[in-house]
Each structure stands twice: as C-alpha cells, then as structure tokens.
Symmetry: C3
Subunit: 235 residues, 3 copies
Amino acid sequence: MCEFISETAAVADDCVLGWNVIVEDEARLGSGCRIGHGVVIHTGTVIGDNVTIEANAVIGRQPRSGASSRRKAASQPPLEIGGNVIIGACTVLYAGTRIGNEAVIGDLASVREECVIGESVIVGRCVTVECNTVIGAGTRIQTGAYITGDVTIEEDVFIGPEACTANDRKILAKEKTYKGPTIKKGAAIGTNATLLPGVTIGEGALVGAGSVVTRDVPPQETYVGVPARPIQRSK
Amino acid sequence: MCEFISETAAVADDCVLGWNVIVEDEARLGSGCRIGHGVVIHTGTVIGDNVTIEANAVIGRQPRSGASSRRKAASQPPLEIGGNVIIGACTVLYAGTRIGNEAVIGDLASVREECVIGESVIVGRCVTVECNTVIGAGTRIQTGAYITGDVTIEEDVFIGPEACTANDRKILAKEKTYKGPTIKKGAAIGTNATLLPGVTIGEGALVGAGSVVTRDVPPQETYVGVPARPIQRSK
Amino acid sequence: MCEFISETAAVADDCVLGWNVIVEDEARLGSGCRIGHGVVIHTGTVIGDNVTIEANAVIGRQPRSGASSRRKAASQPPLEIGGNVIIGACTVLYAGTRIGNEAVIGDLASVREECVIGESVIVGRCVTVECNTVIGAGTRIQTGAYITGDVTIEEDVFIGPEACTANDRKILAKEKTYKGPTIKKGAAIGTNATLLPGVTIGEGALVGAGSVVTRDVPPQETYVGVPARPIQRSK
C-alpha cells in the first residue's frame, strides 16, 4: 500500500481507500466513504457520509490567479461535500464551495470557488461551473454545459448538453462588471443554446436547442432561433 | 517502484508499465502493451495486444447513479479493448463497452457503458460518448464533440469539433423516451452543429458548421443554417 | 514519500514536490517550482523558475497517431515552459510546444505539439489547442473554447467560452489542406461563436455570441448572426 494520509486528517474507520490516495492535513472523511485510486484530497476538505469519489479526482484545490488574470483569486475556506454525494473520475473541485447532499458530479467536471451546489443537483461530465454561482436543488446540468460565474440557477432547472452562458457584456472593455444569466425554477435550456449576460429565463420557460438568447424569456414561454423568438409551445 | 498489480491479474511479460500503475483483480493485458504512469485499470478489463495507454487514464470504471439520476446504472461486464488501440491521458472509459482494434481515444475523452466503438474509430480529445451508442468502423469524431446516448453512427462518418447531438425530445416532461440521431455512412457534420433528437442524417449528407438540424437530411444533400435548410453543394 | 525522480533529471533544491510526483529522464525544473501530487513530467521537459503545476497533470507527453489518423505524429523535442507559469490540475501538455512566461493553463486543458503560447496568455479550463498554432502575448481564451490546428491568433485577443474554430474546408474530401482562422490583434470572439476555415477576423473586430462566421470580418467591425453580418457597434 502506498497511501499518504496526513496525521492531522480524520478518516472514519469504515472508509475504503484505494491505492495512492492522498489526504492532506485536517481533511475529514465521514463514515462509509469510498475513495478511488490516486484521488487527491486537499487540506481541510470536509466530506460527509457515504460519499463516493472515483479515481484520479482532485478535491478541494485552492484557486490561483496569474499576473494577467482579471479576477484575483482569494484564499478560500475548505470545500464542503454533503452526504451520499457521488464524484466522478478526473474531476477538479475547488475550495470555497459547498456541495449538497445526494449531488452527483460527473467525470472530468470542474466546479470553482464560492459556489453553492444544492441537494440532488447533477453536474454532468465535462461541465464547468465558474466561481460565485448558485445552483438550486434538483437542477440537472447535462454533459459539457458551461455555467459561467455570477449566475443564479433556481430549483429543478434542466440545462442541456453543451449549452452555455456568458457573463461579460462588454468583452472589448477593460473595466468589467460581470453578470451572468438568471434561470428560474423549472426552466429548460436546449442542447448547445447560448444565453447572453444578464438575461432572465422565466419559470417553466423553454429555450430551444441551438438558440441564442439575447433578451429575457417570459415564464412558461418557448423561445427558439438566432436570436431567440417566441413560438407556440408544442404539446 | 510502486506498482499495484493484483495477483489475479494477467499481464503479459513484455508489457511496459509506468510508475504507480494500478491493475485490479482479473484484468488481462495482452502482449506488448505500454501503460503510462498513474493509469488505473479496473477489475476484469480485457486489453488486447500492443495497446498504448497514456498517463493518469482511468480504464474500465463501473457506472454509478445518484438518487436523482433518471437512468439507473446497472452493473456492467468488464470493458474490452481491441489490439493496437491508443488511449490518451486522463481519459475515463467505462465497463460494459467494447472498443475495436486500431481505435484511437484522445486525451480527456470519456466513453460510457454499453457502447460499441468500431475498428479504427477516432474518438477525439475531450469527446464524450454517452451510454448505449454504436459507432461504425472508420468514423472520426473530432475534439470536443458530444455524442449522446442511444445514437447510431454508421461507418466512415466525420463529426466536426464541438458538434453535438440530443436525445431527449421533451425536456420538460417527466416521462422520458430517449432517441438520439442516426448518422448514416459517409455523412459529415460540421463544427459546432447541433442535431436534434431522432433526426436521420442520410448517407453522404453534409451538415454545415453551426447548423441546427431539426428534421431529416436526405442522402447526399447539404443542409446549413438555423434551422438547417438545403443548399446547392459546392464542389 | 513515494516520488520517482530520474537520476538524470535536474530539480532545483528549493522546489516543493507533492506525493507520487514522477519526473522522467533529463527533465529540468527551475528554482521555486511547486509540483502537485501525482503530476507526471515526461522526458526532457524544461520548466522555468517559480512554475506551479496542480495535481495529476501530465506534462510533456509525446504525440501518437493511430493507423487511421490523417496526420501522422512526428517525435517532438521536449516541451518548454517559461517562468511563473501556472498550470491546472489534470491538464495534458505535449512535447514540441513552448509556453511563455506568466502564462496560465486552466484545469483539464490540453495543448498539443508544435504550438507557441505567448507570454501572459490565458488558456482557460477545458480548452483544447491543437497542433501548429501560435497564440500572441496577452491573449485570453476562455473555458471550453476550441482552437484548432494551423491557427494564428495575435496579441490581446479575447476568445469567449465554448467558441470554436475549424480548419478543414472540405470535410468530405480525402485530400486535405488545413487552414484555420486568423484572428488579429485585439479582436474579440463571443461565447459559442463558430469561425470557419481560413476566415480572418480583423484588428479590434467583434464577433457576437453564437454567430457563425463564414467570411472575413473587417477591422473594428462587429458581426453577428448565422451567417454573421455586420451591425452597428453598440457603445
């Protein structure tokens, strides 16, 4: 065996750890966790009961910014992961974020700092969630979707594969004010749709696949096209 | 050296294994394989001769579903990988799938359970192939394309970078019947195009870059735009 | 500790290496580098001073091509990484490429062979940069963007999230001549836009989110839509 468990980490006795698992200082693992081979758990990460993490995932890393980064990363408190969460292989999860009970994070996904991921949320494989975003309980984000920073997504939203969101309205400007879309309860965004900065997608609204949404979509309405326009909803 | 090879695994004598390679129970590696550092080979995986796997790949993991997952994952038979296959770094390949001889899987790609990947197929870097999909021999899927579940792709198809496919026609409905696109022999899908659920792309047909395909494309025709419409094919 | 440092590698005394780090033959690490757990540094890689690499990254791998690959990979000279570069977790960087000082490479990104990445460039998370591409100093490529091979991107360009580029004008043809877009100094490409092969985006030009660019965009102009057309630039 070649595990590397810090003496100051607290790992429940009934956890099953793979080979080459690394648990840094003061990390805590609840009862019944299964940690895959080669997983790295960074300093202070708090993991609930019965959490599964697949191989080679990187859990709880601190953000870093370069000399040219527009937003400077601040040191973050540890990542907190709720109970019964399932985390895929080769994922990268940041410190400063909370992940609710029963959530699922797909392989190769990343979630940055200062996010709140609600209970039973699905963050699909290869999804990125940027910093300072809130995702409501029961929301399902499909493979490869891009959730930018400074976004609010309410409960029970569906975001299709490869759909994406923007938060930078004046991309040529040096002075930045970031504002992502707001997606209300029960709305659904189609495959590969694009939501522009600051738009609101109303409750129960539907955005068609491949649409580009440049203005607000009212509740219960369906918008499609480039730019997206209202259509009669099919039954 | 810090390898972890199960006593019940069968690794051919002439394989070259990197440092920190993990081979779980009953996995089998054919003659002449080269396995990169940190690669994880899960239980029972069957690997043909002369297969190359780059560093930190995760090979043959079982699917898992959460409490909120719509499709519940069943335990799968082991992954089977044919001869002369090349697999990139940080890939995630699932049990329950077969990969044909001479196939290439790019870095950071993932292929889920119950798929059949034909001979000489290229699954580009960062591509996802979801479950229960069949890809015919000689098909080339470029970087970042998204192949949803329940898709049939025939032989010698070209799928451009970031192109994507949908399989869920009623994304607001609770009752689901999934049906992905069918892409016939020799068809080509342009960069960042979107194919809606259930459409058929005919033999030798061409879909332009950025198009959104909402209905069937006849054989040998070229469709472009949002929604995609026929145009005269340029020579 | 379970490090694997080749006797022919040269690692500066003040580097901090994580657990399970692998440094192959003749790699060189400058002063003050911080290398995360499980990082693999391949043969001959040259790393400048004060470089940070996060966990499970794969640095300096050689390209490989399969029997069915259209472009055959040549053996490459080692990867060169400048000073103060920051490299994310689970990244895959190739030999044959140079990365300038102060550049930032996001988690899960990959950069292939024969590229030149300028000083202070940001290659966002999950970005792919294909082979033989040049990226000018100060350019920022956002999450999930796709930079194809044979592309020239000048200085201080902004490429939005999930934007993508094509380099293969005749995707049905067997004989290939690849030519990617050229993006001039200070231009900006919106979220999920698509640039077709060979187009030139002029200095300071702006391409709207979700647009499909099929012909050249003149300097300082703004193009939007599918296909992209000029509009009056908003202030």
